[in-house]
């Protein structure tokens, strides 16, 4: 049975921002200014309607939108909902069909809000699902890629009305490669409408209910803060997560290689972890965590870095020396940890010759 549709409130926007930033596992960008924009639209009477994926007809056509590029550029140029939303009619024109709903490309960080903004501006319902269940750095690291769905066509719009259609791509890796190049050309930030999906594809090949999950996590954090409880512990309890480590950032090393923000952070333990050290490698998002040199967690399990006091997520761009942090693992959607999922999003896809062993393995087993 499908859940009834609901309309997001201004409070829901704040809750979703907190939750989505945590699910971003260090990437996806701070949702702050997209929340602001959504709030402005809401004040003008636009509505953010959310529907259950299971309520979609099999032949319904669903747009999938997201902003790609460097989070740092977005901090300066921001993202304009109307520009992002304009990728959708452009796609409709290209394929000669109208969309009935819009879905999230990636729930993590700021990207989930792009579908919400587009839905508000075009009066389309937003489907409660996404193609990552978290954030990942590449287009070929999605459930659509895992399920072998076509990667094309894409539309891409720049705020100067440079408009690009990627009519066909051999596969997701090629689509990633081509769009990344063009994205850099137009300023390292680009609004995109990804390959259109049918209702049947959405129901079978996405991470379901991740928008609701972000809302739930956000509300958990808000409630804990209100009641002066430990927000990090509340999220761990509420989401069936694990606290991996608690400590202080003692080093944050970042470098750009092959167009990604790669690097490592080092955390000195406090309290129960006193005398131990955690090292986490990232490629835009956190990829592998080692405790005293031993692998403690890897993708696709969600490795989340949280401010120990406030429960806010900390991004790979903003993590810095001296921050007091808690490293938390949250379970990944099953499709990511499946055998075919691991071929696209397992540790080896990030260059680590490691077998994925979920920190939740015993529990699941």
């Amino acid at each position: 049975m499908a859940n009834p549709p609901f309309e997001m409130t201004a409070d829901d926007l704040d809750a979703m921002a907190i939750g989505a930033w945590i699910l971003g596992t260090g990437g996806g960008g701070d949702p702050y200014f997209s929340v602001l924009e959504a709030r402005e639209h809401m004040a003008r009477g636009l509505r953010a309607r959310v529907i259950d994926p299971l309520s979609l007809a099999d032949d319904a056509l669903v747009a999938c939108v997201g902003q790609m590029g460097a989070p740092l550029v977005k901090q300066e140029r921001l993202i304009d909902g109307p520009v992002l939303a304009s990728t959708i009619p452009m796609m409709e024109e290209h394929i000669g069909r109208k969309f009935e709903a819009v879905m999230l490309w990636e729930i993590g960080g700021n990207n989930g809000f792009q579908a919400v903004l587009a839905g508000m501006l075009l009066d389309l319902p937003v489907v409660d699902c996404d193609a990552m269940g978290r954030a990942f750095p590449q287009a070929d690291m999605t459930t659509f890629s895992i399920c072998g769905l076509p990667a094309h066509p894409w539309t891409m719009v720049d705020l100067r009305r440079n408009r690009i259609i990627f009519a066909e791509a051999e596969n997701w890796a090629w689509m990633e490669r081509m769009t990344r190049q063009l994205c850099t050309v137009i300023g390292s930030t680009a609004a995109t409408c990804k390959a259109p999906r049918t209702g049947a594809e959405v129901k079978s090949s996405t991470c379901l209910y991740t928008l609701s999950q972000a809302l739930r996590i956000g509300r958990t954090v808000q409630a804990a803060r209100r009641e002066h409880r430990n927000a990090v512990a509340a999220v761990v309890a509420g989401e069936g997560g694990l606290t991996l480590f608690k400590g202080t950032i003692v080093d944050a090393m970042r470098r750009t290689t092959e167009g990604w923000l790669r690097g490592t952070i080092e955390i000195d333990g406090v309290e129960d972890d006193q005398g131990h050290r955690m090292r986490i490698a990232f490629q835009n998002e956190f990829v592998v965590a080692w405790r005293d040199g031993n692998v403690a967690a890897t993708v696709p399990d969600l490795i989340c870095l949280m401010d120990s006091t406030s429960g806010d997520a900390i991004g790979t761009e903003t993590v810095r020396y001296g921050q007091r942090v808690t490293v938390v693992a949250l379970p990944a959607p099953p499709i990511l940890t499946s055998e075919r999922g691991l071929r696209k999003v397992g540790p080896r896809c990030f260059g680590y010759d490691l077998d994925f062993k979920s920190v939740f393995a015993e529990r699941v087993g």
């Binding site: 970042r254 750009t256 835009n284």
Partner: protein
């Protein structure tokens, strides 16, 4: 010899420092006009110490006035906003995330024109000069006296903001102009917010600093006047008039810096126990450790780095429940302690009364707390210590034992021994630590820029050199300058070797 002054909401403290020794300290009431309080404190500290005004090499003033103006929504000017950046960010105009009451007070005419840069230095779109001239003419006709100018990627290339300033000063003669690249780093909205706050404070800053200058003139000193800033450094008064927002956090910063100077410790925790709260911070290499989180000033999101403080509701005026020794605070009689505490003849049982009953301090009329049950006093005292110990522990970042420096009027409440603390350090002149911190402040130079097409080491060197030059411009002695922070963030997704480098140096002021 130099003088440090802390102009707080209630008291104006002044100290004379000779080398690193506090020669004399006074505490006077802050006056509504600021001038009277400073003149009294400054005049008295000089007279009582017997120091001729000509012997002073510098006067350094720390004040919470600018923050208070924003927090209390008082003395702010209405300002115009100009943003160069269309077609980007069209849906989020200047002032968009301000609290409504503050926005109503400050928001004047708002203009967005086409222009700005890409992260790789190319123009976003051609700059709309005519649009800017039109905006300037409208601003000239609007009667506002200040304008804030922001531009997309101006920290990378400030020339459009500079050109806008030329056009604005030509068309709007005498208008006070704040340019965002002078105040901020990457992050358009918070940088713009700070720019507009700064513009809104321009008249108030001018008046306040003029009062400082007048106070110095009246006591007959021609020593240079410095104003302390968020990061524990000072700038010359003229510079402070241009950038009042940089002085927002000088209160807690001066308290931490003062604790460092008074104790001789560079790495320690500090607890400042006042009338209403105890504020705990951490010194790293003599400077406050900064907060993790985004800093809001009066509800406005900013990019400031502020000292990381934990405030707990425990001070000399904190109320105790006579029926339950475990129930202490967070309510407080605040500055009314002298009327409301029992030992001063008042009706309320405060933490100060407990301290007097426990003979931690001799204040007021001890007889008025003699009837308190001994086990109640012990229980309350244990609870006070638990509150302090818990708060100190929460601010600790490593398991290693660290010293804790105690300052503020309520220092007597801090026990001699605390878990995780190697030593509780009491210091002389603890009640005027803020003024001492102001007196010992240094000057800084900062750079935050994107460097492209050079090796990492060369970029770091270039940034450090620019920071040094900035410090010298602010009055630092060249040989005393040291690098306190340098960090680089490679810019992801960018071709070439682009990185954002931030460097900060500090140096001593010439005496």
């Amino acid at each position: 010899m130099r003088i440090g002054i802390d102009v707080g909401g209630t008291n104006t403290d002044a100290v004379i420092i000779d080398g690193e020794t506090v020669r004399h300290a006074v505490k006077r009431a802050t006056t509504a006009d600021v001038l009277g309080g400073i003149e009294a404190a400054l005049g008295d500290v000089i007279a009582e110490a017997g120091v001729p005004p000509s012997a002073l090499s510098a006067v350094m003033i720390g004040t919470t006035h600018f923050t208070n103006a924003v927090v209390q929504r008082s003395q702010l000017s209405r300002v115009a906003a100009v943003r160069i950046g269309l077609p980007a960010a069209a849906t989020l105009p200047p002032f968009v995330d301000w609290p409504p009451d503050l926005r109503e007070l400050v928001r004047g005419p708002v203009f967005m024109v086409r222009g700005g840069y890409e992260i790789d230095g190319r123009a976003l779109v051609p700059f709309d000069r005519n649009g800017l001239r039109e905006a300037a003419r409208a601003i000239a006709g609007s009667g506002v006296t200040a304008v804030g100018v922001s531009s997309v990627f101006s920290p990378l290339n400030p020339d459009l903001e500079q050109e806008a300033a030329e056009i604005l000063s030509e068309i709007c003669p005498g208008i006070a102009i704040t340019l965002s690249h002078e105040l901020g780093r990457i992050g358009l909205l918070p940088r713009e917010n700070v720019t507009l706050l700064n513009a809104a404070l321009h008249q108030m800053a001018r008046d306040t600093v003029a009062a400082f200058v007048e106070a110095l003139r009246r006591v007959g000193t021609s020593a240079p006047l410095f104003i302390t800033q968020n990061d524990g450094t000072v700038v010359l008064a003229d510079e402070a008039v241009r950038f009042p927002v940089r002085s927002f956090a000088s209160g807690p910063t001066n308290s931490l810096r003062g604790a460092s100077l008074l104790s001789g410790l560079d790495d320690a925790m500090v607890i400042d126990v006042g009338g209403t709260t105890a504020d705990i911070g951490t010194l790293v290499r003599g400077f406050p450790r900064e907060a993790n989180n985004v800093v809001h000033i009066g509800g406005v999101r900013t990019l400031f780095r502020m000292p990381d403080l934990l405030s707990v509701g425990l001070g000399g005026g904190t109320l105790c429940d006579p029926a339950d020794p475990k129930s202490i605070g967070p309510r407080s009689v605040g500055f009314d302690l002298q009327r409301r505490a029992r030992v001063f003849g008042g009706p309320d049982l405060t933490v100060t009364d407990i301290a007097v009953a426990a003979k931690l301090i001799d204040l007021g009329d001890q007889g008025r707390v003699a009837s308190l049950d001994k086990s109640y006093v012990e229980g309350a005292l244990a609870q006070i210590r638990t509150i302090i110990a818990t708060a100190v522990d929460r601010m600790k970042t490593s398991a290693a034992e660290v010293p804790l420096i105690v300052v503020g009027g309520g220092a007597f409440l801090v026990p001699d021994r605390l878990p995780g603390i190697s030593k509780v350090v009491e210091v002389p002149n603890a009640a005027v630590a803020n003024a001492v911190g102001a007196a010992m402040a240094q000057v800084s130079g900062e750079v935050d820029q994107v460097f492209s097409g050079m090796e990492r080491a060369r970029a770091l060197d270039a940034a450090t050199e620019q920071a040094r030059a900035n410090a010298v411009r602010s009055g630092a002695l060249e040989h005393s300058i040291r690098l306190v922070e340098v960090e680089d963030i490679p810019l992801s997704y960018l071709p070439g070797n682009s990185m954002r480098v931030r460097a900060r140096v500090v140096g001593s002021v010439s005496m």
